[in-house]
Symmetry: D2
Subunit: 207 residues, 4 copies
């Protein structure tokens, strides 16, 4: 029997609007992750968060014009959340931060077993920058994902950065470096495996 199909959502937390017609390096890397996850029958879409109106706040609905309630629903409808962010000053983008501020509301939305709405879902992270910062950005995002209720398998990270003070963009590389391609394959294998385990056997929480 074929394993159940999985649903993913990938959030591109670049600062660049699609309207700018500039390609986003984060988009390129997320595209590669989505392709690899597809091989495990895990499919879904990449969302450009900066083009939505995610209002500042820490509730699940900040009122008129807020695009978070719809995005929140899509996140919770998926089995897998991939958060992709560029690096600025060695840190995740403000767009990535905003997303997690809104998920802070999950803490007040626990069920009777003390599980947040994200419980049972699996998280992964993609990071790109001209240089330096991927490990720390992943640490910040892994902590946020775990805090709000996602599970993380080992090696659920793909990243690329250039040499210190470099100015090359990932999107401009002639080819994907082999170790990066392998990280992406490993991410997909681990994320799909964990997501399937948790779909079949969800965390019971506290009885």
């Amino acid at each position: 029997m074929a394993p159940a199909p999985l649903k993913l959502i990938a959030l591109n937390c670049t600062l660049k609007s699609k309207r700018s017609n500039e390609q986003s390096s984060t988009d390129v890397l997320l595209g590669q992750i989505v392709e690899e996850l597809g091989k495990y029958d895990c499919n879904g879409e990449i969302i450009r968060v900066v083009d939505l109106n995610i209002k500042p706040g820490v509730t699940s609905d900040e009122g008129e014009g807020d695009d978070w309630p719809a995005l929140r629903k899509r996140i919770l409808d998926a089995d897998v959340l991939v958060v992709g962010t560029p690096i600025w000053l060695g840190q995740p983008s403000s767009v990535a931060k905003r997303i997690f501020e809104r998920m802070d509301a999950f803490f007040s939305e626990k069920d009777d077993q003390q599980r947040t709405p994200a419980f049972g879902r699996t998280g992964a992270v993609a990071v790109v920058g001209n240089e330096d910062g991927a490990h720390h950005v992943s640490a910040e995002l892994f902590q946020c994902l775990l805090d709000v209720g996602f599970a993380i398998p080992p090696h659920a990270l793909t990243y690329w950065v250039g040499e210190a003070l470099g100015e090359t963009d990932y999107k401009d590389l002639m080819r994907t470096p082999k170790p990066v391609a392998q990280m992406t394959q490993m991410l997909a294998a681990n994320v799909a495996h964990m997501a399937r385990l948790l779909k079949r056997d969800p965390f019971p929480g506290l009885q």
Copy 2:
């Protein structure tokens, strides 16, 4: 001869709009810092950043409707920048992150001595939260401030957080805890001292 007066600007990076009429704990703490700095003839205003339209991006002007160019000017007109932020998930707010993304442009605005526009200015940090996160938030903001060109004196931080998993707000405390009041006094003494030294003897940069 009295020392030259100093100008400060304090950025409140809370997620709460002034329009909400909710008091901001960050505002309370920044107010105390501004009061203490006033004793050293260092005066200025607190700006509620969330009420401005600071557009996503890493340039000094992101075009129509962008409030950053005016705010950028005010920051560079001051001798002292105090960044105040609440803690969410143990990390600085997305509003604080946004501010520093915009200051990333300073790197491409160096003068012939390789000094960014922020050189010669002094930075300080204020952090408030219900619980846990102030040291890390200060580490993130100190690194950003230093990277874009501010100098930091020792003990340029005031913070308050409650016990683990606490839910009390700083603004609701009956009185300011004595060690917090003393931190604020120390911050003011050190920041004023360093700002005066640098006003008189600016960094020469590379010749």
Copy 3:
């Protein structure tokens, strides 16, 4: 049929030797975690790492007198690794850092499926301090655990810290705060669940 018993190892990364006869707050918290995990038939021991000779380095055996090879074996013999650390200057202890430096060697010990020796094991974190730092310490340790090959379920963290600038020790609290006790129960439920899933269905790695 009863679920298979699980083995745990808990590393106490306090700076205090057992020989000092001072009680370690980290020990108290780890003891509570071990007790809760015992309810899920997950049993093992707490090791005081500072009393071992874990030599500086990034290989699996740094030669004469090195206690790491034996500790490494015990870690890999267990299904669950709980790392407990005090907070100093808002950061994990040097003893905790040392442990992960030694696990860096796992990267060069991957099998043909690109899995490090830690793959299939589940990690959790315990943090105690007088004040502030638990979220960041957990971020640092979660990132290390994931990087070297452990999986992390949601809410795999228990922590306690006092109010800002506080000086109370966890070991001196009259009773365990209820929210801390509940975090510990949740940690145990989630860690035991994930460890059982992974014991039955290990990550396949890359084919």
Copy 4:
């Protein structure tokens, strides 16, 4: 009149003993910093910390065999402290962490003006790794330096890391990359300037 000479101490927090006869990349970078600072009449030595017996603990003297009291004296005798560390798992070395744990004792050694023993001294940071981590490592070390009482000028950091997943060592580069050499020059200019200002006009602390 020539400016007063300045004293520096540089701590190499590599995990490699001098006895190993392996060259340390951190040493190479620290050597370049020391050379540049020499041009500003700021001179001193590089200490290999791993070859000392810096005992675990948070007091200024951990008893028999502890090499910290002597090292502590040398740090406080200098005007400038440069901390150099390799990156492991995106984080500072355990040897660097240990140093700051010992400086935690400064908090209980404040004078009547609430100044720690480090007040009036200037800090700087050097980071090297095969890949990724320099910004975060600098954030961790800057926060520690500021917390214990050092002042930090802008651009008080020199670092080098290779491309993502790279395996090249800084010590094996054919030549120093020009942007790295310039960072080092800038570090020296800023650190020497600030150290001189603070030597002449120390922080007054609280009256």
